[in-house]
Every structure is written in structure tokens, then in C-alpha cells.
Amino acid sequence: MFVRPALTARDRPCQCIGMRSATISARKMLGRKSVVVLPVHYPRELFTAMDVHTVELWGPPGPPRGPDAGRIQAYACAVVRNALAFLAAGGADAVDAALFPHTCDSIQGLATLAPDFGGWGKPALRYLHPKGGDGPAARAFVRAELVHLAGRLGELTGRPLEVPRLAAAIELHARIDRLRGALLSRRACLGMGDRALYRLLRRGEFLEPEDHLAELADAALGLGEERMQHGVPLMVSGYVPEPMTLFDVLASAGAFVVADDYAAVGRRVPPASLANDGDPIDTLAAKAFAMPPCPTRGGDQDARMEYLEFLYRRSGAAGLIVHVQKFCDPELFDVPAIRRRFARIGAPLLYLEGEMESSLSGRVITRLEAFVEMVDAGRKSP
């Protein structure tokens, strides 16, 4: 039986990994399969349908540890360097396979480096999502990739994909998505602090979907009609909210996150529910094209800027924090366009660059505090 860790646990990196390990161990005891998943986008429904537990690997934060840390140059992003060091050090040995979605050149490189040259000796699964448009070729390709991945999961579990189970998994994840979407879009009406909210949302990276759903449903009970957050409302955009102490700093400076565009969080919540009445594979393929814009999937840059402005205005945010990982090409190439767009609408913007640190530096804390102060002053001035 799965034991849900207490929400009050501090999520420092090692403890966060501990929670993930505990979840995997619980699965193992039941004789079920687990897969470690690299960022960002993948069809989780397929894994649920095949009764395969997924545990995401975002780093982990902190400096890369172990002798394999130097196998990737320091000018590749910390997410990839840390992941190689972690996998090679046996950090994910408890799982049965690893999934490498084709997020960027660096994860693509890791997807051959670790399995082929050492660092990952178990099955390596890949999920190649299209990077171009959303035309018929791309849609047919997603469908074929899903079928292929289902086949690989079938080899792992020893049983084929059952269509009714996939339909049920899609429905289960749709409920999760709806709740995640509600918590994020009605953030101001939720009494929970940012740190607790993000801890809850990020527990979806490793919890069983049913357990995550139950936690989300509990939290959603706290959504009211009245505004419960009264600080400086900010929007965040970036790759992954690490270190999570970012939210503590914002809270102590009197701000809260009212809109989210993190690749790890908000960009994985579809804006609208999808019909689930046809072929479940088609539904899943359609979902890939219905997600919020994310540069890791390509797509039109203007469309992304429109979306970000929409998110900003809808949420009533008073400023934007762009929080990217150093050396992260997909995010970095969009930064000038974000700057231009938000300058045009007169929105204050703070640019932060991280390297999956375990804690924020004093300099970054000061910048965050000064930014919140400036945004607050701007709101109060006529």
C-alpha cells in the first residue's frame, strides 16, 4: 500500500529524492514497474494505462555529484549534467526503465550517452514529439510514436495496451489536469501559500495519479469565491521552479504567484478539456497539440507571446519573473521576445538565471525583494 508522505515535509533535494524513492519502493513491493522520466512532455496516460509508475527526474538540484559529472561539458544545462551524474551513481536503480522525451539537444544527447556509453544499463525508452507545426504529418507522427511507445511498454510489462484502460487513464488524468488548472487559474482564491501549492503540484511528478488526484481534490476544497491572497500578484515563466525557496522569498517580500508558465508546471496543463469519446490514441495525440505553447515543442513564437500576455492579463498579475536555467536554449531564445512584449504592455519584468541550485544566493534574494518592492510601489502610485 502506498504511504503518502506528509505535506509538511521540507522539500530539500535529498528529501525530495527520498520521497520519490519511497514511492518507487512501494510500487516494487506490489511487483509493478516504474520508469524514471526526464523532462518535459510525455504521454503519462499511456503509462498509467499500462500500470507503469512514472517518477520524473528534474536534476536533481544541487551540484552534479559523482565521477560521471564531468562527462558532459559545463556549458550544458545543469538539468542534464545532474541527471547523468544521478543515473550513473545508481540514483534511479530501483526503477525498471528510463524515458527520454526529446525536449532539447541536451536531453537528446543524454538519451544516447547514458544508455550507450554508460550510466544507464536498463531499458531506455524515447518519446520523439514533433517540433514543427501541427499539420497532418505531425499529427500522424505523434500517433505513430504513441503506438510505438505503447509497444515498448508492452515489452516492459509483458502485456499489451488495453484500449478501455487507456480511455480510463485519459479520464483520470483529465480530472487531474482540471484540478491543477483550477488551482493555478484561481490561485488568488486559494488560501494555501505558494510553497505549499507548488509542493502539492510537483508531487504529481512522482505520486500515483490516484493519490495525486486525492491531494488535489482536498486542496481544491479550499478554493473559494473570495480573494484570499492579498500580496503583490506575480506571474512566473521558466523551466522548473528550483530552488523552491524562491517562493519563500516572494512570500516574505509580500508577493505571491498568480499565474504560472513553468515548463514543469503550468505548461503541462491543457487549457481546455478534450473530448474522450473516440479512439483513445487519437485523443492522446490531440492532447499533444492542445497544450499551452512551450518552446521545447517549437511552434509559433508570436502565438506563445499572445498566450503569455493573455495569461498575464487574465490573472491580474502586476509583474513577471522570467526564471530560466542557464544554457537552456529553448527558453533563452524566447527571452528577448518576452522582454519586448511585456515592455510594450508596461509590465515590470525580472530576469533570473539559475543552475539548479539547492538554494538562492543572497544577490538573487535581494533582486527578488527589490523587484517586489518596485512592483508594489508601481501598483500604489496613481
Binding site: 561539458q73 550544458a76 520523439l128 514533433p130 517540433k131 504529418a137 536554449d329 531564445f333
Partner: protein, 438 residues
């Protein structure tokens, strides 16, 4: 439109060639007056003059291409054959970035891009190009405005993000040919995906050009492209001779036509000429460097801004780069092109390029090149600007040493931006590496 077209045709067919031949005469006269250059190199390749003419003419014609003919900005790995029968003038921002780097203009252009908000950690070619777009500064006079942007992810995904930014700037259609990474062999649905995209590309390109593609002309372009890559491969294989009639650094420059003029008669005529000259040098025993003692392989892009100095240091010590994985990449997939099946065969060829394949494949190419060219050592340019090429090099270097006995050096630099180059540190490492062969 008609006046512009006439001007474009006059510049590209009459005025340009005339200016080039006048410039050729001037250089020849200067060359006679100066005599043969001294130094650690062999006599310069005669074909280099023609290469300069071709490149200059291409950029000269480009100055008046917009409004005259459809203009496409294309990535180096893009299946440009699809555009040729539609009369596109093609501009290669990567090739332009290399010229900017050789001319030492990248820091200025990059700073302009950085002022726009682009990070210094991004690809040097992209920064140079975006800086050029922002300022209009270019060493080639002027780049024509694109009507279509074409990028293919077979060399990296950086081009996708870069071209998205260009599309937002120029407000023109962007065609992405997404070539999913190949582990082992490409699966059928992957090839079908790429060939379907090529058909979608044709529709978009036809809309921009304003007319339908002539399938016979497309087949002929494919035939020329296959022939061009074959000729380029023959030029590269001349490096197997001892001494090698040229250096790998020469081949970086002579790569330009197969990248930017692939599928044209001019390109093939050029490589006929270069191949014949290389074969003559082999027959005469003329080497790319005066005294070739150690033969090396180069992995990754060149360090454009420092190529001359680096090649001089190596040549002075009797080291010759006889093969490179980078230039080889434009010769390896050509035989897959089939004029009878343009989309299907282009999908196969463009998916199976070096940078779109897994590390075991890259290791096999390294081993094969070292064996065939007799390379005793390898310089791995760890390129800050090119993550897909650089990730895995630490392991590749180790495996090449342990499995083939080929000594390796990891040399950290950048293909375009000299600000990422630490000369003292690099030469320390290079000299220590050369001592291994003493």
C-alpha cells in the same frame, strides 16, 4: 518586379562574373609579383580562387535578390533541392556566420544581439545572425530579406528556436523539417513523417514562389545534388594520400559550395575542378603542409576566427588534419538520394546525417575515418556554441583511445565567438598533445 529581376539577372550572370574575372586578373598579377608564399604549408590550391569567386558572386547576387526572385533563408542541413526548381535565391545564415567569424565581426554582432536580450550562451552563429538582423551590419554588403524561412532540425534543435525568432522578426512563413533523432536505424513512421513534411514544404514553397514545381526539374536537381555530394566525397578522400594534398582546414572553406549551392551545375563543376587539382597534387606528391609527419582527425565545427593561426601552429610541427567529421557529414548521406523518389529519398538522406544519429554511430564514423585516413590522433573541438556536437565528446575521445589507440585532445573553444577562446590555455594543451607524438 521585372526591373528588379533584370537587375538580379544582370548582376548574377554578367556584371558579377565580369567583376570576378577582373579581380582574378588583379590577384594573379599580385601573386606573380609576390612569388610563392613561404611557411609550413604546401603551395596554395588554385581552386581557392574559384571558390572565392563563387562565394562572392553568390553574395553579390543576393544583394539584389529580394523583390526579384523568391528568397529563402535556410539551415545548412535543409533539403534545399526542394527549393531550387522554384527559383529561390538561398541564404545560409550559418555560412554567413562563418564569414562574420573569419572577419572577426562576431563580437560586435553578438553584442548587438545581447543588447536585444539574447544570452551569450546561445550559438555563436545565431547571435551573429540575430545581431546582423538587428543592425544591418554584414561583411557581405547586404543580405536579402527572406520571403521564406526554412529550417531542418537534423543538425540541431537550436536552429528551430533561432528561426522561430527570425520568423517573428520578418513576419514570413517558417517551414520546419523536423527530423527526429535516430537511434540505430530510422523507424518507418519516422521516415514517413519526414517525407510528408517535405510534401508540405513543397506546397508552402510553391505558394511563396507563385508557381508549381516542375517534377522533372526537381529530379534533375536531386541528380545534381547526389553527384555533388559524390564529388565532394572524392575530394575528401584525396586526404587519404600521404602526404595529404590539402588540410582539413582547407576542406572547411571548400565545403561552402556543397552546403550552399548543392543541386546546381556550378557546384558540381567546382568540385570537378577541385578533385582534379587534388589528384594532380597527389600525383606530384604535393602536400597541404610542407612536412607532414603526424596525421590527425578534427571533430566538430572549425574555430573559424582562429583557423589560420591554429593551422600554422600544427603545420609548423608537422601535424596535418587529414579528415574531419564535419566536412564528411556532407558526403555521407548523398548516395541515398534518388531522383526518382525526391521526397522519400531526401527523407532518408537528411535523417541519416551525423548529428542526427546516436553516439555509437558517431564512434563508428570516427573509427572508420581514423583507419581510412591513417590518423594517429584526434582533436575534439569542445564547442561552447554547439551542444549537440559536443555532448558525448568526453566519452568518444576515451573510446577512440581505448579501442583504436588514437590519442585525443579536447580543445575548448567556440566556432564563432573569440570571446570564448583562451589562447594561452588552448596552446598549452595543444603543445602537450603534440608532445605525445614526439
Amino acid at each position: 518586379m521585372i526591373a528588379r529581376r533584370v537587375r538580379y539577372e544582370i548582376v548574377s550572370r554578367a556584371l558579377g562574373p565580369m567583376l570576378m574575372s577582373m579581380e582574378g586578373w588583379r590577384r594573379r598579377l599580385q601573386g606573380r609579383a609576390r612569388g610563392r608564399p613561404e611557411g609550413p604549408f604546401g603551395p596554395p590550391l588554385e581552386s581557392t580562387r574559384k571558390l572565392k569567386e563563387l562565394t562572392t558572386l553568390h553574395y553579390l547576387a543576393g544583394r539584389c535578390a529580394d523583390g526579384a526572385v523568391p528568397v529563402a533563408w535556410v539551415t545548412s542541413g535543409f533539403p534545399v533541392e526542394m527549393l531550387r526548381p522554384l527559383g529561390f535565391h538561398t541564404v545560409y545564415p550559418e555560412n554567413h556566420g562563418a564569414i562574420c567569424s573569419v572577419k572577426r565581426m562576431v563580437p560586435g554582432l553578438s553584442e548587438a544581439a545581447e543588447r536585444e536580450g539574447y544570452s551569450r550562451d546561445l550559438c555563436g552563429y545565431a547571435r551573429a545572425d540575430l545581431g546582423c538582423v538587428a543592425t544591418g551590419t554584414t561583411p557581405v554588403g547586404r543580405l536579402p530579406r527572406p520571403d521564406l524561412l526554412c529550417c531542418c532540425t537534423n543538425i540541431c534543435q537550436t536552429v528551430l528556436y533561432w528561426y522561430r525568432a527570425l520568423a517573428a522578426h520578418f513576419r514570413v512563413p517558417l517551414v520546419v523539417i523536423d527530423t527526429p533523432f535516430v537511434y540505430g536505424e530510422a523507424r518507418p513512421h519516422l521516415l514517413a513523417y519526414v517525407s510528408d513534411q517535405l510534401r508540405e514544404l513543397t506546397e508552402t514553397a510553391e505558394r511563396v514562389a507563385g508557381f508549381k514545381v516542375d517534377r522533372a526539374a526537381l529530379a534533375e536537381t536531386m541528380r545534381l545534388a547526389r553527384e555533388g555530394t559524390r564529388l565532394w566525397g572524392e575530394c575528401l578522400r584525396a586526404g587519404r594520400a600521404r602526404p595529404s594534398p590539402w588540410t582539413g582546414f582547407d576542406s572547411f572553406f571548400h565545403l561552402a559550395p556543397i552546403v550552399s549551392m548543392r543541386g546546381t551545375r556550378e557546384c558540381n563543376a567546382y568540385y570537378h575542378m577541385l578533385r582534379d587539382e587534388l589528384n594532380e597534387r597527389i600525383a606530384r606528391g604535393t602536400g597541404g603542409i610542407a612536412d607532414e609527419r603526424v596525421r590527425l582527425l578534427w571533430d566538430n565545427l572549425p574555430i573559424w576566427f582562429h583557423l589560420r593561426d591554429l593551422s600554422t601552429v600544427l603545420a609548423r610541427n608537422g601535424f596535418n588534419i587529414v579528415c574531419t567529421t564535419y566536412t564528411n557529414a556532407w558526403a555521407e548521406a548523398g548516395p541515398m538520394i534518388d531522383p526518382a523518389d525526391p521526397e522519400g529519398s531526401a527523407a532518408r538522406a537528411y535523417v541519416h546525417v551525423l548529428l542526427n544519429r546516436d553516439l555509437p554511430y558517431r564512434l563508428s564514423v570516427l573509427k572508420q575515418l581514423c583507419r581510412e585516413y591513417g590518423a594517429a590522433g584526434a582533436i575534439f573541438h569542445s564547442d561552447r556554441s554547439c551542444k549537440p556536437y559536443s555532448i558525448g565528446q568526453v566519452d568518444l575521445k576515451g573510446r577512440l583511445a581505448s579501442e583504436e589507440g588514437v590519442k585525443g585532445l579536447l580543445l575548448e573553444a567556440d566556432h564563432a565567438d573569440p570571446r570564448a577562446w583562451s589562447e594561452a590555455q588552448a596552446y598549452n594543451r595543444l603543445h602537450a598533445f603534440m608532445e605525445l607524438f614526439a
